[in-house]
Symmetry: C2
DNA sequence: ATGTAGCATGATTACACAGTCATGTTCAAA
DNA sequence: TTTGAACATGACTGTGTAATCATGCTACAT
C-alpha cells in the first residue's frame, strides 16, 4: 500500500511539519527566529525532503531562500493533512476546534467579534482566532490554508476562492451634540467647520475626503490624527471631535443614549464598500467544521449589517 | 505550528500507513495475511494510534474487528495525504501517476481498455490500473478513495458521488451466418431454435431471457454455459453458437468482416442499461490528474458508445 | 573589498520506532 | 466444552531521527 512511502528514509512527520513552518514564515531564517539550532534543523530537514522527492523545494537563487512551487505544493498538502488530523484529535478529545477568521481590525472589532460571540453561545466546541491582516495577506492566508475564512471587500476575492454574502456599508459621520445639533445629511462644507478626528497616513478614505474638500476649495479640518478607527471612536466619545466611521460602528462603539448624532453624508461624500465572506473550497473539505460555520456566520453578520 | 502533532509519540507515518492497510483489508487478520509478525505490528500500531487520539479506532465487540467511524475517518484522511504525496513524488521524478479505473470485466475489456489505450497515446505520464469489481464494491472503493473513478450503472451512483456522462446501451444478439442468415430483428421464438451461449448462474440478463421465453411457452436453448462475456464472444466466433452481448462489443470482440450478424432484438426482448462515469469529489481535489482525465474519458467513451 | 545575514554540514547523543519472536488472552463457532 | 481463529502483550534489537553544538560556505549590501 503506502508502506513504500512511510518507510522511505528522509520522509517523516517532523520534516513535513518543518516544511509547513518554513512555508508559513517565508524562509528558513524567519522560521527559526534567531534560534541557530532550529536553523540548522530546518535546513537539513528540507534538504532531506528534497532528496526524497528529487526536486528542489527551496529556490536557492537569491537569499533569503523561498519555497519553490513544488515546495509550496508539498507544504499545502501536508498542512491540510495536519489540520485534519488535529481536528480529528480535538474532536475525539472533546476539545474545541480552532477556527481562524481574518479581517481588518475594524471589521474584527465591530462585526466579527460580536457575531462570533453570539455563535459561541449556541455552538460549543469552537474557538475563534482572529487575524488582523491586510487584504493581500488575507487572500494569501486563505490560499495557504492558514486562514479558514475572511471578511473582505468583494472586489478583492480572486476567482479561485469561494465567497458568500454581500453586505454593503458606508462610512457615515458621527458628530457629538456638543459640536452640532444638525441632524440632516452632512454637507461638504462641514469638513472645514467641524474638528475631525481622522486616520493618520494615506488611507483610501482619508484621501477621498481630502480630494472632495479640495474640489470645493476648502480644507479638511483634521483636528486629531488617530492610528485606528477605535481611537477615532474614542475621540468622538469625548465630545470634542467629529469623525467618520463605518455605519455598523454605531451600536458597537457607542453606548446607547450617548450624545452622538449619526449622520448620513450628502451624495458627493458617499463612500461605500461591499463586503463578502471568502474561503477556500479545499479548506471546507478538509475541515467539515468550517463548512458548517459559513451559514451561521452569514446570518449573524446579516443581523448586524 | 504542527510540531505538537508531529512530535507526539505514537503518531508516525508508518502507523498511519498501517491503519490504511487495515482499512483497505477490512481487519487486522486480512491485512496481515497469515504473517504473524505483521499481525502483532498492526495490533500494536493501531493501539498506539488510539492512545494518541484517545478514541477507539477498532470496534472490538465482535471478531474480526472492524474499524470504527473515527478509524475510517482517520484512515481516509491519511490515505488522501499519502496519495497526494505519492503523486507529487512521481510527478517530480517524471514517473507516471497511477489512476485506478473500476468497472465490470465486460466494460473494462470492451470500453475502458480501448478508451484508455487511445488516451495514453496522447497523454504521457499516466498508468491506468483497472479493477474488476461489482458495483457495490466499486461504490465502496470510490468512497474510500481506493478507486479514482468507475464506470457503472447510473442508478447505482449514490448522491454523495459525482458523475458525468450518460451512455445508453442494449444487449443485442450476435448470430454466426452459419447458423442463420436472417438480418431482421430477433424474435423471441429464436431463443428456442438457435443454440445459445449464455452466462452461467443467475445473472440479471440470463433471468430476463428465461422469463421472456417462459412467457411464450418456450425454453431458452442454452447450448453452452460460459463464465464471462469474453467466453461468450469466443463461442460466437467459432460459428457454432449465437449469443447476447452488449452492442459495443461488436467492434472490440470480432474482427471486421467476420461472419457474424449483429441483430437488434424485438421490442419485448430489449434489455437496456444506462452507464455513467462516477467519482468522488474529494479525490479530484487531492489528485488534480483525476479531474483532468474526466473530460478526456468522456469523449473517448463517447466515440465508442 | 569586506562584513554579515542566511544557509549548509559534520559530528555526536539520546530516543522513539519498526521489526521480530514467543507467548498470552479473548471470543465465537463446532 | 472444547477448539481454533483473531487479536494482545512482553521483551529485545537495530535503525532512523530529532536535537544540539561547532564550524564552514555563499551571496547580497555597504
Amino acid at each position: 500500500m503506502f508502506k513504500h512511502l512511510a518507510n522511505q528514509s528522509g520522509l517523516s512527520l517532523e520534516r513535513l511539519a518543518s516544511l509547513c513552518e518554513v512555508a508559513e514564515a517565508g524562509s528558513i531564517g524567519q522560521a527559526s527566529r534567531g534560534d541557530v539550532n532550529k536553523q540548522s534543523q530546518l535546513s537539513r530537514q528540507i534538504a532531506e525532503l528534497e532528496a526524497v522527492f528529487g526536486v528542489e523545494l527551496l529556490a536557492r537563487q537569491s537569499r533569503p531562500f523561498r519555497l519553490t512551487a513544488q515546495g509550496k505544493e508539498l507544504a499545502q498538502v501536508s498542512r491540510q493533512f495536519f489540520q485534519s488530523v488535529d481536528d480529528l484529535q480535538k474532536q475525539a478529545g472533546g476539545e474545541a476546534q480552532r477556527v481562524v477568521v481574518g479581517a481588518g481590525e475594524t471589521l474584527i472589532q465591530w462585526l466579527l467579534f460580536p457575531a462570533c460571540e453570539a455563535m459561541q453561545k449556541q455552538t460549543t466546541g469552537i474557538v475563534f482566532a482572529f487575524k488582523n491582516l491586510d487584504s493581500a495577506r488575507l487572500v494569501d492566508g486563505l490560499q495557504k490554508g492558514e486562514v479558514d475564512f475572511a471578511l473582505i471587500r468583494k472586489e478583492e476575492v480572486p476567482p479561485s476562492l469561494m465567497h458568500a454574502g454581500d453586505w454593503l456599508y458606508s462610512h457615515v459621520a458621527f458628530v457629538p451634540k456638543a459640536l452640532s445639533r444638525i441632524t440632516t445629511e452632512l454637507k461638504i462644507e462641514e469638513l472645514a467647520r467641524l474638528p475631525w478626528a481622522v486616520l493618520e497616513g494615506q488611507g483610501h478614505f482619508r484621501q477621498f475626503l481630502e480630494s472632495k474638500a479640495r474640489a470645493q476649495g476648502i480644507k479638511l479640518n483634521a483636528a486629531l490624527e488617530c492610528s485606528s478607527y477605535t481611537q477615532v471612536a474614542m475621540a468622538i466619545q469625548t465630545g470634542r471631535y467629529a469623525g467618520f466611521l463605518p455605519a455598523f460602528a454605531m451600536d458597537a462603539a457607542f453606548a446607547p443614549g450617548s450624545a452622538i448624532l449619526q449622520r448620513q453624508t450628502e451624495k458627493g461624500l458617499r463612500y461605500e464598500r461591499k463586503l463578502t465572506l471568502a474561503w477556500r473550497e479545499a479548506t471546507t473539505r478538509a475541515r467539515p467544521i468550517v463548512e458548517k460555520l459559513i451559514p451561521a456566520i452569514r446570518t449573524q453578520l446579516g443581523k448586524i449589517l
